[in-house]
Symmetry: C2
Subunit: 410 residues, 2 copies
């Protein structure tokens, strides 16, 4: 027993050191083995052994300015090996699938946006559709020969992370959907059969993407707000995701802001997303085109384009609807300011093309309804990551897992 523990301990130390070397190469590349030794505090022999291991695993390669020198001699530079592995992020939302595959350096390999009426097809067919798109994506020539280290799936709802179950996603009409298990059986026999599958909340993964790649990257107290049919928030405090005791933090779409407001998908009235979600905006902005009933999911993107067109032309109902939705959104931002005081709120999804008409009233309301002067310094900005923030964030989490969690076997 004691011997077993000891062996596990040694194994863990080597794994930790491998990850430390990988992180260091990522931070310093191109860099020499000597530079890695200095940065990590490990001795040169150990670093050489660890680098060889990482090269076998396809994570690090030799490169650099002195190709004529013999391999392994001082002067040879190391870089991330961007040819061997890939990570995939998927977002399933009410009206689309977004899929992004990235390499070890977080560079895009494939980006797909697939319209899908997820609510109508149901959870099982949706998992099958995701699997089909994943097979297509992993069949792309650019992914040939790469090991896919994992697939992360972003869903607008409450997730039980350990089991990958979507416990509640009212806009998809899903309840207790074992998405990870469904996907795993759909992927059986494919190139992805053995890949890690993670399921997480779309706003949480969007926040990770903003923190790593967004226009305010590096801001440690940041909230990402999804602008879809539903509205959710991913809350970063001190650079860490605030998940809460049961993993359900950030459900700002269901803050009840108007006692007699419109009915919400959650069964209550006057929730933020019933007042300022894309469905509410389209109904108010396009009274001639969208009836007062559940939206046909497949039309959302085209209708948002039409709102942009009309608002650009100064159309009264469109501009007024966006201003009103922006005001409610600002009330939601004020709640975030009063409770968590973020340095910035980044709005994503369909809110991005609507931002020019949505954000002025949003910022004004956020200021007016926050207790701290000037909304506690909180900026409200549109995302620069478009519709792929959550899928990109999911892929990034998978790559980050290599630096800090499980490494693929050689």
């Amino acid at each position: 027993m004691a011997a077993g523990t000891g062996t596990a301990g040694l194994h863990t130390i080597r794994e930790n050191n491998l990850r430390a070397v990988l992180r260091t190469v990522r931070a310093l590349s191109p860099c020499s083995r000597a530079a890695v030794a200095t940065a990590t505090g490990l001795n040169k022999t150990t670093v050489s052994s660890l680098v060889s291991d990482l090269m076998e695993r396809g994570l690090v390669r030799e490169t650099g300015q002195t190709p004529q020198r013999r391999v392994g001699r001082p002067g040879v530079l190391l870089d991330l090996d961007d040819r061997s592995v890939a990570a995939v992020g998927v977002e399933v939302n009410v009206d689309y699938l977004s899929v992004v595959a990235v390499d070890l350096a977080h560079r895009d390999l494939v980006v797909r946006h697939v319209p899908l009426d997820a609510r109508s097809v149901g959870a099982v067919a949706c998992a099958a559709r995701i699997a089909t798109v994943l097979r297509e994506v992993t069949g792309e020539p650019v992914l040939e020969g790469r090991a896919v280290v994992g697939v992360s799936v972003a869903v607008p709802g409450l997730i039980d992370s350990p089991t990958g179950t979507v416990t509640r996603a009212p806009n998809l009409d899903w309840r207790d959907v074992p998405l990870r298990d469904l996907l795993r059986s759909e992927l059986a026999g494919s190139a992805l059969a053995g890949a890690t599958v993670l399921v997480d909340n779309d706003a949480n993964l969007g926040a990770m993407a903003e923190y790593r790649f967004g226009s305010l990257a590096g801001l440690t107290d940041l909230v990402y707000v999804t602008g879809e049919v539903g509205i959710g928030a991913g809350v970063l405090t001190g650079g860490e995701l605030l998940r809460g005791a049961a993993g359900s933090a950030g459900e700002i779409g269901h803050l009840e802001l108007a006692a007699d407001g419109p009915e919400c998908s959650c069964g209550r009235r006057g929730c933020l997303e019933a007042l300022a979600g894309i469905g509410a905006i389209l109904r108010a902005a396009l009274p001639d085109r969208v009836a007062d009933r559940p939206l046909e999911s497949r039309d959302v993107a085209a209708l948002v384009d039409l709102v942009v067109e009309r608002a650009s032309a100064g159309d009264g109902p469109a501009v007024a609807a966006l201003e009103r939705a922006g005001t409610w959104l600002g009330r939601g931002v004020a709640t975030l300011v009063n409770v968590v005081n973020p340095g910035a709120v980044v709005v994503g999804g369909y809110f991005v093309p609507l931002a020019p008409w949505l954000l002025p009233s949003c910022r004004a309301a956020a200021g007016a309804h926050s207790f701290a002067p000037e909304a506690g310094g909180c900026r409200v900005e549109p995302s620069a990551l478009g519709m792929s923030a959550a899928s990109r964030g999911g892929a990034a989490v998978m790559i980050h897992g290599l630096d800090s969690g499980a490494l693929p076997l050689p």
Copy 2:
């Protein structure tokens, strides 16, 4: 320059080691030097030197089961020295001062509760009153010969921590009050002239007290809600205070819950504290005793007692007022659940004696208005720390500073 940096580095290492030894003695006491060496990974000679230093500073002493042995020989046990230092926590609120002095083991030395109409006397006179009470407390025989390592002051408002300035405390009618500087000049020439003075938000310090000493101590995702004339929240996530980008997180008293609600001290309408703060409760529960105007601060405690008396006797207006306030409080809890998803909300201050009538409707509303089923697992419980949660939390932060921050000089 390089030599200076090197010296500073060595100094820091020794300070870090001193703190590590102090933390270890706190965790293991009574314990031998050998046990400290094992737990810290430091060698025995180093531990002996560090222990001598801590003994000179009055933080550690020898004790234990073998008093006949010669000092310093193996077998002598170490304990925290609870005779040498003290830390003081003060809370200033609308209608009282609370002062707690504790020893190194967090044991109470002095506990004081002083009625004070802080709003009427103004900030300068209030600082003078705090200084007077502090001189009285530090003059108590039990504090004789002790070094007071610091004074922490809890205030219901927004604090600029680096300068100790209260930027905004509407219930005290304070704005940009340099409380730390005021206190320092009031304390000049006293035994506290050199003591560290920190100013922090009352709810934040209450949350620290709950985390360390409360009935749910150790729960890492916990919110403490102050139940005074104002309502504030101290939010702990993962055992850390969520302060936000500008230090103004947790201002739940100014969540606007009712568009046409009563006027709030902040100038808005329908804020949580205007609906469920003690002033609102007293006005509704005691219509014959409290006129519809600003409350006389000095009467609050007695009036709360009267509400308890009447509610116990089944008095209609009192019971209805508490049930209604509880429902609004539950709406505030639901907002916390939707945004940060705490494992528990602990309500303090005057909410504690009122809890039997306040909390049933509060829990029901929290469940009804949360998106996650069963309020995301969030319990709502009364504090066991009474009116001294914030002052006790402040004293604890000072003692914790010895384990993790500045140590007093020998």
